[in-house]
């Protein structure tokens, strides 16, 4: 089952095969959770919303097109749930958890030689702390563009499709997000 491609699993799920849908969930649960956490900035909410989106996807499975990417379709459901939560939070004046709760530095070995200067490591840790703090304060759509680019590693075209906006808008949102993070890095 786990070797079957998405299209085959979707076709089976549409025919009522719950196990096939389960295989799709297992395949995309990490991506879904991390997409949600980038948007809502809270681990509990990300878990709940990503699962809720899968539950809604299951009920709407008859409308999935097996020839189109499953995750892109699922993301539209997840995105709507996340933005609804953010809107409700604004109403209740709640804030996102700081990025430090859901982001961490890559291990030093993965990014530089083991003999790298301690000073450089301290500098980087401080930069990470500031970035993580500033991420929570970014406008939602800017944070979404940045997360899709930096943490999901998508190309501009894929981000534009996910966000339903032109590539130029994606680039300007990325620029705006990075400009705010640059200010945070400079300690402003």
């Amino acid at each position: 089952m786990s070797d079957a491609d998405d299209s085959e699993l979707i076709t089976r799920a549409k025919a009522g095969d719950t196990a096939a849908f389960g295989a799709l969930v297992t395949r995309y649960m990490r991506q879904a959770y991390f997409s949600a956490i980038g948007l809502v900035g809270s681990r509990e909410d990300a878990l709940d919303l990503s699962q809720e989106a899968f539950a809604r996807a299951f009920h709407a499975r008859k409308t999935i097109d097996p020839d189109r990417p499953f995750y892109a379709w699922y993301y539209t459901i997840l995105r709507r749930l996340c933005f609804n939560l953010l809107r409700d939070r604004r109403t209740h004046r709640q804030r996102l958890e700081e990025g430090g709760h859901w982001l961490e530095a890559l291990s030093a070995a993965a990014i530089e030689a083991p003999d790298a200067a301690v000073e450089r490591a301290t500098e980087r840790a401080e930069a990470h702390r500031r970035i993580a703090k500033a991420l929570a304060t970014l406008p939602d759509v800017e944070r979404e563009a940045l997360v899709l680019k930096e943490f999901e590693g998508l190309k501009y075209r894929a981000i534009a499709e996910r966000m339903g906006t032109p590539i130029g808008t994606v680039m300007s949102r990325l620029y705006a997000a990075r400009a705010r993070l640059a200010k945070a890095l400079e300690g402003q």
Binding site: G22, M29, R79, E104
Partner: protein, 153 residues
């Protein structure tokens, strides 16, 4: 003031989505303007910081329980749908049977105190008002939802 084209070039170069011509153009612009150079460096510092950060992994139990939680949610949705569907039909039937009787007795029984009659009228008006208010709010939030545009289904 840096123009939009230059900012787009900086983004494209940082994200490795540029052509050789883009890079040449940005290098030319940076050589000619200290402002462009500084902005490029600023953005590069952010890029360096974010590219050395990654997601914090939840515990392995989170993934072990994930599908079961989704399954429970779908099952509960179906259960709620059945409960609500049955409840709505039964309530409608009860109302259909009870309301005419209540109205008849309110109208014809002269022994009923005025307070009871007024309470019944207030209840009916209140329910109507609530219905109209909720419908209006739903309609206006649907037409003004700022996230609607970005989501296609």
């Amino acid at each position: 003031m840096i123009d939009d084209r230059t900012l787009a070039l900086i983004m494209a170069v940082l994200d490795d989505e540029h052509s050789p011509e883009d890079l040449n153009e940005l290098e030319r612009l940076a050589a000619a303007s200290a402002e462009v150079r500084d902005e490029w460096m600023r953005q590069r510092r952010v890029k360096e910081a974010t590219s050395t950060m990654t997601w914090k992994e939840p515990t392995s139990e989170t993934w072990d329980r994930y599908w079961m939680s989704v399954y429970n949610k779908t099952e509960r949705k179906i259960a709620w749908l059945l409960v609500l569907g049955g409840g709505v039909v039964l309530s409608a039937f009860a109302l259909w049977r009870a309301v005419p009787r209540l109205l008849r007795s309110l109208w014809s029984e002269s022994s009923l105190p005025v307070g009871v009659r007024m309470a019944a009228v207030a209840l009916l008006l209140g329910v109507l008002l609530l219905l109209v208010s909720v419908l209006r709010e739903q309609l206006s939030s649907r037409t003004k939802d700022p996230y609607d545009k970005g989501v296609s289904r």
